[in-house]
Amino acid sequence: MKTPHRDEVGIGQELPPLRLPPVTRTTLALFAGASGDHNPIHIDSDFAKSAGMPDVFAHGMLSMAYLGRFLTQWAPQTQLRRFSVRFAAITPVGARLTCTGKVTELTEGDGEALARLEIGVIDDAGEVKLVGEALVALA
């Protein structure tokens, strides 16, 4: 994959969105094992209900992992310098998520040209699940 070049990246430029299949219980079970996050609130409906939740819900880190895929389809992973998010809302089973992002600043750091990206994950009702920021080194 080619690293985006500073001359080809402009402020306001949108990254190609990444649309995900609906979140299933299977996804959550697999993600619990793969990620090492075994909190039963994401995989055990009985536990979730006893904790006052209507049902299990997705790990915030699942959405952040999707954002990682989204960022690394725009630029190779080796160009990623910083990646941060705030979790804004719970993602229930069945949610259809989309990762979006745009360039908000072109800057420099440690002698590199950097693009600052505003990134987010929304569901198909437009509710924001995650908002964040990434710094990507440009060619």
């Binding site: 994959m1 793969a34 990620s35 909190n39 790990h59 915030g60 992992a65 895929r69 310098r81 990646f83």
Partner: protein, 152 residues
């Protein structure tokens, strides 16, 4: 309320080996299908030493070390009350399958909002390679939801 005396608490250091099988499992769980994340030859062709660890994968280094569970026990917080508030990663060097990493985590802040209804625990981890160079900085902010009667 969580006792702020725990600010600065260092959690026991741990090691984490980046395994190919775990990386493929993580790829499957996150719907990743690009060959450089699954196939060693494709990873090398893309310039990696072996399969690369995806941007958020190394949360597993913290989680496998059990430091989050330990932290909750130390602070006296039941797991069903926590939500993940914020997460950030600062990257210093690529991490690939075969790497053996060390994890050093500490509680760097504890604060409350909404009169104690919500408490925040900030954990900072440094992940270092076998040469002792920091490859990744990880910051996690956990939110603790307190029942009303406990709120100040």
């Amino acid at each position: 309320m969580i006792d702020t005396k725990h600010i600065g608490l260092e959690l026991p250091a741990a090691t984490f080996e980046v395994e190919k099988g775990r990386l493929r499992f993580f790829a499957e769980a996150t719907g990743e299908t690009r060959p450089e994340y699954l196939d060693e030859r494709a990873a090398r062709a893309a310039g990696y030493r072996s399969l690369p660890a995806p941007p958020t994968f190394l949360m597993a280094a913290d989680l496998d070390a059990g430091t989050t569970t330990m932290l909750l026990d130390t602070l006296g917080v039941p797991i069903e009350r926590i939500l993940h508030g914020e997460q950030s990663f600062t990257y210093h060097a690529p991490v690939c399958a075969g790497d053996v990493l060390s994890v050093e985590a500490r509680i760097s802040d504890i604060y409350s909002k909404k009169g104690g209804a919500l408490e925040f625990v900030v954990k900072d981890s440094l992940i270092k390679d076998a040469q002792g160079q920091t490859v990744l900085e990880v910051r996690s902010v956990l939110v603790v939801r307190n029942p009303k009667e406990k709120a100040a």
